[in-house]
């Protein structure tokens, strides 16, 4: 499994970076466990893995942000040990972070040169600074006035300016962490042109991205991590996408159990299956391309896709968290524009965020307060829910969802992740939603709570509630959903009845955007999605 294919191929030079047996532990977690990683000069390398795979930990180990517990790091043949990012940078390892870490209020030239600016009479040599930055920008083929304010340029140009800054320190290794996550196609092309020209100057480039297409377009070699361990290093041209996705997610196609298709047994009453909410060409620039999504009452729709595929972004549009800039949303035949979550809640759409801690629970409030929060907000703060009613609500949900400890006065932050999630669910159920959007409700919670939450979703749907269910675990999506919508690189690539769907077929869609030919009679779904109940 973890054999390194490239050892068979001719490797022209010795690696510029070689990390061996890297282990890093945080309290309670082993973030990296004996990971090997190497990069060659003049190649674009990608680091692949799902959430929690250890990608960013490995990058931080390489850039000196984290110290390593075990292992060695060799740079150009010499063993190194960085005590901070500044040292790593001085040694030739530069990083451009996803968030452009530049200063919008200063000039382009300053953003490139500050920290190592040319001096003159004890001050800054402005002329030399502008000349040098103009040279660097020209070297990247950028037509930008070094004297202009950074904040006046688009994010894409800022990103390229960040690269100009990074390569000015004579970088041997350039790390680009999700550089394309906020760029459009033209801007990505521009970035790739720059990456290629740097590669031709023998810089080793680490390109981290969620976009498989981009990885396949620009990278020569990639390393896959999963759960803090090395899966393997591969030449991009020798690795099929489907194989890459499997290695990232960790399922062998052949060993997948046949899953109980319980979801399918639940038949939506067609007469009552009037589409509750329907998105039509709903999209938001830079988040999700316009897509259609009808959801019937009592239907569970699963969203499948990798992190960054647009699954959360799409759900946020439906939940009124972000505003759509194209398309329209119809709720029970009425066209609405959701500008705030409050408007969504008023129409009985509840959105439960994947970011439980920051966008979900209020840790310092009690279980009771957390449960009544949304209902109280919906009623308005001048009509307080009577204490007795609050207690009843809290008690009934604690029992119904089996929240432990069953004490309404317990502070939510002291509860386990699974119970926090249940409190969050109770909060949304208390407003009696017609559509419940659950973004990764089962992430990071124990197996028992997971099963309970899955069962709850079932029962809710049986009682006529629509559920939009997002999970990185495809089995779970398949088990619960009546329909599965597959997203890939911010596009909806398929909208399928959960009828004979397998994890295999979903994986194929996620990897390639098309259905494998040997699979069952599932046609590739192009722009027109299946209409509600059409294939039944």
């Amino acid at each position: 499994m973890s054999n390194v294919t490239s050892e068979n191929t001719a490797v022209p030079r010795s690696p510029v970076v070689e990390m061996r047996g890297i282990s890093i532990g945080f309290p309670g977690v082993k973030a990296l466990d004996g990971v090997d990683f190497r990069m060659f000069p003049g190649e674009v390398h990608s680091l692949m893995g799902e959430n929690g795979a250890g990608k960013s930990t490995l990058i931080k180990a390489l850039t000196g942000v984290y110290g390593i517990d075990a292992g060695t790091i060799t740079l150009s043949g010499a063993q190194v040990s960085f005590s901070g990012p500044a040292q790593a940078q001085a040694a030739g390892i530069s990083t451009v972070y996803q968030e452009v870490n530049l200063l919008p209020n200063l000039s382009v030239a300053e953003n490139i040169m500050l920290g190592r600016e040319p001096r003159r009479f004890g001050g800054i040599g402005w002329r030399a600074m502008r000349r040098r930055s103009a040279e660097l920008l020209a070297g990247l083929g950028l037509d930008v006035d070094p004297g202009s304010l950074l904040g006046d340029h688009s994010l894409a140009v800022q990103q390229l300016i960040a690269i100009a800054r990074a390569i000015d320190v004579n970088a041997k290794v350039l790390i680009l962490d999700e550089p394309t996550s906020s760029l459009d196609a033209d801007e990505v092309a521009e970035l790739f042109r720059v990456i290629r020209s740097l590669r031709d100057q023998d810089v080793a480039i680490l390109f981290v991205s969620h976009f498989l297409d981009q990885v396949y377009e620009i990278c020569d070699r990639l390393t896959v991590l999963r759960n803090g361990t090395l899966v393997g290093e591969y030449l991009v041209e020798e690795l099929l996408r489907i194989d890459l996705v499997q290695k990232m997610i960790g399922k062998e196609l052949t060993t997948l159990d046949d899953l109980e298709q319980r979801a399918h047994a639940v038949v939506v009453d067609e007469s009552d299956a009037a589409t509750f909410v329907s998105a039509s060409k709903l999209g938001r620039r830079g988040a999700i391309n316009p897509a259609d999504l009808p959801i019937a009452a009592g239907e569970v729709v699963g969203l499948a896709g990798l992190l960054g595929s647009g699954r959360t972004e799409f759900a946020r549009l439906l939940g009124g968290i972000d505003r759509a800039d194209t398309g329209e949303l119809t709720i029970r035949g009425e066209t609405v524009r959701l500008r705030t979550p409050r408007q969504a809640i008023a129409r009985r759409i509840a959105f439960s965020s994947e970011n439980r801690r920051d966008e979900g629970i209020v840790g310092d409030l009690t279980v009771r307060d957390n449960i009544v929060l949304a209902l109280q907000a919906d009623r308005g703060w001048f009509r307080p829910i009577p204490k007795k009613k609050q207690d009843e609500l809290a008690q009934s949900y604690i029992q119904a969802l089996n929240i432990r400890p069953g004490n309404p006065d317990a502070l939510v932050r002291n509860l386990s992740g699974g119970n926090q999630q249940k409190v969050l669910l109770a909060r949304w159920l208390a407003i009696a939603p017609r559509l419940l959007i659950l973004d990764e409700p089962t992430r990071g919670i124990d197996i028992g709570a997971k099963a309970e939450i899955q069962k709850l979703v079932f029962n809710l749907a049986e009682n006529g509630m629509s559920v939009l269910f997002i999970s990185a675990e495809l089995e779970e999506v398949l088990r619960l959903s009546h329909r599965v919508v597959v997203l890939r690189d911010r596009h909806v690539v398929a909208d399928l009845e959960n009828d004979g769907l397998t994890v295999d077929s979903l994986l194929t869609l996620i990897a390639d955007g098309r259905v494998a030919s040997d699979d069952e009679a599932l046609a590739e779904i192009e722009p027109t999605p299946t209409t509600q109940g059409g294939t039944r």
Partner: protein, 366 residues
């Protein structure tokens, strides 16, 4: 999570923006300067860009405002339109200019210094009491500057090391300084020391019957030094960098910690110096003097175009801010019938307008 956060930035980042800045240096983009055919249109878009730039917009408005107010004063009142009236703006406000310079450093980093008014009073008290007991001004003035700088250092360390809010840390320093004034004396101490008296009454002729006080020269020297430091040294650029994004500054390898402490030292030094200049002006030390002056200084800095959130602004803008406050005061003096409290009302209204202006500019930009 991070992708989610990126989404809104994305759309903002893509909105086309007009060019900004003084013609020629601004971020000219081909679509703008090229497409607007006529020179007039180009001038129009350049002017629009200047006004909507967070860097130059507010200070441009302030400059226009100052000229406008001065012209209105000149039209309304006889004798207003004279060089000496203009110079007296500097004479009367030399200490405030120095205070505003120090405050500009602090606000550029996104901080605030509420202690400056009390420190002005404290330095006046120290000067008056030590001179009374026969100390030489050559010792007293440097001593005051050192003491107030050390106070600034303590405030800076409190803010940096203990992560105390600048508002709270400098509020504590304000109470400390004001309290120490009363420890020195409960009542006013007048200064009769010859050097101080000499500095208070002497005028430096500029020709044509115009003259300024030595304080003005000192204040302008401080301004010149501050302009150089802020625009031509790494320290100065780091001050801007902290205001623009402390985290980014750290990642760029800039000396953020040292700079954050130093701005309060500078503000402390400037307060001490302003206190000395103030005693040249009043020839006395009084515990209740300069109450609320910190707010005048902050108002001057904000009206001068420095964003309270930091990162944008100029020392020269703050000087302009002081002049605007001064010219409003002068007009009210010329008007004769209005109470001097009207100055406060005008300044309050002006401040409101400028804060809203800042909000509009930053929300347009970000």
């Amino acid at each position: 999570m991070t992708e989610l956060l990126d989404a809104p930035r994305r759309t903002d980042g893509r909105t086309p923006r007009p060019p900004h800045g003084p013609a020629g240096t601004g971020g000219r983009r081909p679509g703008w300067s090229g497409s607007s055919g006529s020179a007039l249109a180009r001038f129009g878009s350049a002017a629009l860009g200047l006004l909507t730039s967070p860097k130059y917009g507010p200070v441009t408005v302030t400059a226009v405002l100052f000229v406008a107010v001065f012209v209105v004063g000149g039209i309304r009142y006889r004798g207003f339109f004279s060089g000496q009236v203009f110079l007296n703006l500097f004479v009367d406000n030399a200490y405030l200019i120095v205070l505003a310079v120090g405050m500009t450093f602090v606000i550029l980093t996104g901080g605030i210094d509420l202690s400056v008014g009390a420190v002005v009073a404290l330095s006046g008290m120290i000067a008056a009491s030590l001179l009374q007991t026969g100390w030489s001004p050559a010792v007293v003035i440097p001593l005051i500057l050192v003491l107030t700088s050390v106070l600034g250092l303590l405030v800076g360390l409190m803010i940096h090391v203990f992560k105390v809010q600048p508002f709270i840390a400098t509020l504590a320093a304000m109470f400390l300084a004001r309290g120490l004034c009363y420890v020195i004396s409960q009542s006013s101490i007048s200064i009769v020391e010859p050097t101080f008296v000499q500095l208070a009454v002497s005028r430096i002729p500029l020709g044509g019957g115009l003259s300024v006080t030595p304080s003005v020269i000192i204040a302008l020297a401080v301004v010149a030094l501050a302009v150089w430091v802020l625009h031509a040294t790494r320290f100065g650029r780091t001050v801007y960098a902290i205001g623009g994004g402390e985290q980014s500054g750290l990642l760029m390898g800039l000396p953020v910690a040292r700079t954050k402490v130093l701005v309060y030292v500078i503000s402390g030094f400037c307060s001490g110096l302003a206190g000395v200049l103030f005693t040249f002006y009043t020839l006395s030390g009084y515990p209740l003097t300069a109450v609320g002056t910190e707010l005048d200084a902050i108002a001057a800095v904000v009206i001068g175009g420095t964003l309270l959130t930091g990162g944008y602004g100029f020392v020269l803008g703050s000087v302009l801010g002081v002049l605007v406050l001064g010219v409003i005061q002068t007009i009210i003096t010329f008007e004769g019938t209005l109470s001097s409290w009207w100055t406060k009302i005008f300044i309050g209204a002006l401040l409101l307008v400028f804060i809203i202006l800042q909000k509009v500019l930053t929300s347009r930009r970000r």
